[in-house]
Amino acid sequence: MTEASIHIRGGHLVDPANGIDAVTDLYIAEGRIAAVGNAPDGFTADITLDAGGLHIIPGLVDLCARLRDPGQEHKATIDSECRAAAASGITTLCCPPDTTPVVDTPAVIELIRHRASQVDGARVVTLGALTRGLLGEHLSEMAALKEAGCVGVSNALKPLASTQIERRAFEYAATFDLTVFLYADDPALSMDGCLHEGQVSTRLGLRGIPEAAETVAVARDLALIQQTGVRAHFCRLTTERAVRMVARAQFDGLPVSADVAIPYLYLTELDASEFNSDFHFIPPLRTGNDRAGLVTGLRDGTLGALCSDHQPHEADAKLAPFPATEPGASGIDTLLPLTLKLAQEEQLALGDAIARVTCGPAAILNLPCGELSVGRTADICIFDAGAHWQVTPDTLCSQGKNTPFNGWEMPGQVRYTLRNGRIIFTREAR
């Protein structure tokens, strides 16, 4: 199949990887970026998109999105979420291995790939399980998982049985040059907790998760990264102290990266103070000071990526007393708007904010996307920064309507999304 040649005209192009922030034209041929600025010789456009007044950025790379498929299709499906992602400018979704069955065999990777290939939406890449069944006891067949295409290994939110298993898993992953994606949690300290241990958990009588549940785990993991030399990525840090620990390790030359999920940049423990289950997160929303520390880490690059940590749920999952509800929020629809809002509120320069959802996560996943260099795959998001919309269950494209941002006014509406040079989503201007 030959892809159409596309001329995107007159848009404001922001491509952090190449340091471009200017109004210019973009040319796409055979699914790839053919030129930026002037048309290449002999270029004839099959399609011309008028991007006047619009922004053009690389398609977003979401470092963590649960698609619930296979296994929990009542919450969401690969079909529903890949379409929702396309409608939100996301062209690559990375899903953790905690599906049912777990991603610990090539067959499951193949199943996910097959289902995703049936959809005209975002591409899906998967992390493989670090241990068999994510049970934390036996190594998974990591070499086979890598050959089957997984982009890293992780034990998702599940604990490992011992530090010895963790050490061996790191060594084995390093053998095959696989990045391990870590959830920094000491399970004995976080056990049965559902909220940050602090004034809100004390007031509501909810079992708290102390800051040390994260920092103890980061300290232990860093020691084992040093010991084994594995390349590691800390997923969803939530505390200011953990960010500082990772910054120090990066300064010391350890091969570590880290990300933050976007709700943690806007919300704190105080938002959960009325038992509202939309604010039930694991790891938990922390304090205002932690929130500020995460923004600082994002700004100085300690946190190289910003992800949605998308966790769609059916309505019933949130309809119970707070501790009995399922944690997490649907986040695909709000990733780009809340990233733009960081720039609007001058917490981050626009280029830096865009980098954290494009080239930043692409580098962590070692994928050739997230930038608009000539020759790269043409994954592109074109949005209207001036268009605002309100978050309601109806305006979310994801099957999961569980959002802590209900009623919020969001900046930025995606007009076109292109993946591999093909238009996979179009929204008419209103």
Partner: protein
């Protein structure tokens, strides 16, 4: 949200879920109403027809004898029909969700739920989902709140010490971290402008940032009891030893158990309270529990009048017809 949830548009009690979110006038109204019912419960015919024809369901997901019994008696003395439903956690797990259980009971035209559940926030959750004419009373949710217990404790203090809480020093001793009773007492006493409010326990039993609730923290019982007008002892659960909160009951009693000697630093007319059931020789010795300062059995008696007050007030605004005077 809790303010709107508990108080109707007319400013009157709609649900009774937590002390937090209520105001001093409402607390005083509850106490005054309880005072009027205290007379009823002492008569030979102990009934008033206030809630005749109403149906109250005691929905207990956690074992309880004292609280459920006093709620049941309170409802019967108000002439309501009472249904007791005890659902153990294990059978709740079997399938039906809490919301389904609720909808089924609502379909039987229930007017009030009295709810106890091991999860903090359950009463709020139920109050958010019941039909507009149904009231919810929290009989204890996890570690969050036990507001009727706090009100009967306040009622007891008012009877013992008079209505001016501003001159009182109150010490709450024991497992603050796991206590819904302590949380409700702290909110109620602060709402009534108590002079000084202390919590006394080792660090393992003091929750994070407890000062933000408006208390002074003491780790030494001797210091914590100095010049106290009221001492409230909390029950210590055996599990605390297994969770590495405490080394032994023996050491706890040695450091935090209330004895006549320890009580000597408090005011001479100190009042000693305990929400029950008491572990004799763990929280306090029998000389104190049965001694002249103890009002532990009065607390139980007042529990009925206080619960009658809360039930009649919460039912009231819905019909707007009946009056207890």
């Amino acid at each position: 949200m809790s303010v709107n949830l508990q108080i109707g548009e007319d400013g009157r009690l709609r649900h009774f879920l937590s002390i937090e979110g209520l105001n001093r006038a409402l607390l005083t109204e509850i106490l005054d109403t309880a005072e009027s019912f205290a007379g009823v419960t002492e008569q030979s015919v102990k009934k008033v027809p206030l809630l005749r024809g109403r149906t109250i369901v005691n929905l207990f997901f956690e074992a309880s004898t004292r609280t459920r019994t006093t709620f049941e008696l309170a409802a019967k003395r108000l002439s309501a029909d009472v249904l007791n439903i005890n659902i153990s956690a294990s059978s709740a797990v079997k399938g039906e969700t809490l919301l389904d259980t609720l909808r089924n009971l609502e379909a039987m035209h229930v007017d009030m739920f009295v709810v106890r559940h091991a999860d903090s926030g359950t009463a709020h959750f139920i109050a958010r989902h019941v039909q507009p004419h149904v009231s919810v009373i929290n009989a204890g949710d996890g570690r969050h709140a036990h507001p009727t217990q706090a009100m009967l404790d306040i009622f007891t203090i008012r009877r013992e010490k008079g209505p001016d809480f501003g001159r009182l020093t109150v010490a709450i001793v024991g497992d603050i971290a796991h206590s819904r009773v302590a949380r409700s007492q702290i909110h109620a006493l602060n709402l009534l402008n108590v002079g000084e409010l202390r919590v006394v326990a080792p660090r393992t039993l003091i929750p994070a940032h407890v000062e933000s609730l408006g208390v002074r923290v003491f780790h030494d019982l001797h210091e914590g009891l100095r010049d106290a007008d009221v001492v409230i002892m909390l029950r210590l659960q055996r599990e605390r030893m297994e969770g590495a909160m405490l080394p032994s009951e023996h050491e706890y009693y040695r450091l935090y158990g209330l004895t006549r000697e320890r009580l000597a630093t408090a005011k001479p007319d100190v009042t000693v309270m305990h929400p029950g059931p008491i572990n004799r020789g763990v929280e306090m010795d029998s000389h104190v529990a049965d001694g002249p300062h103890s009002v532990i059995l009065e607390q139980v008696t007042y529990g009925i009048a206080t619960r009658m007050a809360v039930m009649s007030m919460a039912m009231h605004p819905v019909t707007g017809q009946e009056s207890h005077d």
